[in-house]
Symmetry: C2
């Protein structure tokens, strides 16, 4: 039954109150909050049980707002304070969090919110070498023990490639590495540079299975240490060099340039520097490049809570922005683009399941607010990819006019792939 959102406030289902009794002003704020959620099928419950419902009913669940401070915060800056309140436990979900987020994003996408121009007054600090290091330390140096609890065995923290949707995460991450290597047409003896190598799985995979030499850059101390350990253990030190440094320090010429999951952390202000690095390090005759990154269909700021708590300095660009700032002025030619958005949604489903399976250990390590923050981040990311709020692009490129490019894509889909 279709109801008017602003009048559907009643106190029929009281909840244990832990704050003051709602006053007229609270009900008025509640109606504003409900209106702000638009057609999202999400209702609200205040601390005393006062309820509010959206036009078509709260089919995705209700949000329990536990005190007045939270209600005010959600009105003033919903994008930031939803995450803050949820993590601290002042906001709860009565229903399934991933499903509630996905239905909300889908409703907002259909309303066209994704197409609204971004906020104009967001303060963004460029990622200087020092700030880049701080930002990356913030997220990636939480501790390898933490990531080992819920990533695949090779510790890949980027979108997997599922040959079929039911494939295991372990196999899908290996398939992703092969997908990338095939797109790069790696040949034994090639010199490859990897910008932002995570825990080193792709660098080691390329060296072991494709016979190439890899220089792998990363500014996360913990990740580099881990990668070096694996290289030693697997006898690949001679073929994979892990370099704890910024991508901007890359020197030399390479047959292939690859970067998986780093562009999101570069920041728009620094695309010219990345372009310069690619331009000088990629061979002009037969050099192949690949950028794998989280992107958008429309320009939009990153959610401010994600930027504050999860990924400082991050920005997912549109495909157009990467063309405008990196590929076109860099004298580079787009060979192939693939959008793997639904593969990232699937990857995040696996991560969520594993995270919840290890949640007691995570709670013991970092406490409940951390658990709730990461639960929200993983569920929100899955919802964003599942609804088209975010994209995952793989872009293959070469210098303009270089004819040493693949004739067709058949080599990527041959027997055994």
């Amino acid at each position: 039954m279709r109801q008017n959102s602003s009048t559907d406030i009643d106190t029929a289902v009281p909840e244990p109150s832990q704050a003051s009794t709602p006053r007229a002003v609270d009900r008025w704020m509640l109606s504003l909050l409900q209106r702000g959620f638009g057609t999202a099928p999400v209702g609200f419950v205040l601390w005393d049980g006062t309820q509010s419902s959206p036009p078509d009913g709260p089919t995705a669940g209700r949000l329990l707002v536990k005190d007045r401070r939270t209600l005010v915060g959600l009105l003033l800056d919903p994008e930031l304070n939803f995450g803050e309140a949820y993590s601290s436990g002042r906001l709860d979900v009565l229903g399934d969090l991933p499903s509630l987020l996905e239905q909300t994003y889908r409703a907002w996408e259909q309303e066209g919110r994704n197409r609204r121009p971004p906020r104009r007054f967001t303060l963004r600090r460029p990622n200087t070498l020092r700030r880049a290091r701080e930002n990356i330390h913030h997220h990636y140096d939480i501790g390898n023990d933490f990531y080992r609890l819920w990533l695949d065995e090779q510790m890949l923290y980027t979108c997997a490639y599922f040959p079929a949707p039911g494939e295991s995460l372990e196999r899908a991450q290996v398939a992703k590495m092969d997908h990338v290597c095939r797109k790069l047409r790696l040949r034994p003896g090639d010199k490859v540079v990897e910008a932002g190598c995570g825990w080193g799985a792709l660098a080691l995979h390329m060296a072991r299975h494709y016979g190439v030499e890899v220089k792998a850059f990363n500014i996360s101390t913990e990740q580099i240490r881990y990668g070096r350990g694996r290289a030693r253990a697997e006898g690949l030190e001679g073929r994979v060099e892990f370099i704890e440094d910024d991508y901007r320090t890359i020197r030399g010429r390479f047959d292939a340039f690859v970067s998986v999951g780093m562009l999101e952390h570069v920041g728009r202000e620094k695309y010219a520097e990345l372009r310069e690095v690619i331009g000088r390090c990629l061979r002009r005759d037969g050099g192949r490049g690949l950028l794998h990154f989280i992107g958008r269909d429309r320009v939009r700021s990153l959610n401010p809570w994600i930027r504050r708590r999860i990924f400082p300095g991050a920005y997912p660009p549109t495909l157009r922005e990467t063309l405008e700032a990196i590929l076109e002025p860099g004298g580079l030619s787009v060979i192939d683009v693939e959008n793997l958005r639904l593969h990232y949604a699937r990857t995040l489903e696996h991560w969520q399941e594993r995270f919840e399976g290890a949640v007691e250990q995570v709670r013991a390590m970092f406490g409940e607010p951390f658990v709730r923050a990461w639960r929200l981040y993983l569920a929100g990311s899955q919802a964003a990819f599942a609804t088209g709020w975010m994209q995952l692009f793989q872009v293959v490129f070469a210098h303009t006019g270089d004819n040493d490019v693949a004739w067709t894509r058949d080599h990527m889909y041959g027997a055994g792939s």
Copy 2:
């Protein structure tokens, strides 16, 4: 041997003179012209045999400038007057035309001319419905008899897809149609709209082999008549409707939108109208779109001679421009991009060979200047694709957030492809 271009002028090899004896001013103009060609390995010969060579020698051949008017014209507006002089026979090539053009483009690409900003003061008239009709009539209504002389048997006048470089043109054009149909994931019963259908080969192919219903739009009277004739002859009138009208008049909802080789003729000023057409005619749940078009890596005006004599109103956009003006603001999501530049170079090799094989008939129909203009246009186009001066993009898209997209590209490369 490296020589200085401006001093390498001598009169050692006199040619039969047909104009006045060169004066000091002619030699000065010749040295300017030579300098303007930069590192292109192309020399010049004036009407009396006066020669000029580029820094590394005229390894690609020489251009014979037959009179002073042509020399002046080449200096004032080389891009326009090269074509004008060549067509009229006032300029000749001593050497192989396609190879000379290809080496010139390659040298210029390496000099970075492709990256220079475009001219600012080009007058471009928007393609109103009436002007679009005139422009298309200019090129496509020359007569089906002419195109039949050198196109494949199904009359496809767009880039073919060669599963292997040695494939025949006939088979490569069929492979192209199947490549497009697979990218669109056509299913029996689908309603498909084609914007700019040429002589109708793709529309008929889709209906016959994929069991879909097609509405095919084109404003070329001769092409539509030809397509209707084929539909009748092949018993496909009930499934393919050829509509002699502009793409802007498309109405209704379709499972697939396809346009092969039309975007180049739309003109930047009208991208918003095309976007509006796609947005309203493509189903929001499971609608698949494909744009196949000649593009660029960098913004550049179309060669003014091509625009005047061959394709009035045409403009090949960069991938960024199509994202900026059509896909991003249209609420569309890029699923797949493939660059088939080298396939177009190969297609043009076939066309040139067939054109030269039928050149006596073409000369009898239209005269020598027409033959020379088309020879230059075909050779110049081949050179442009072979050197990266032009690109051929196939872009697959859907409405943002539509999850009825292909899980992988495996369906395009299965057995039998």
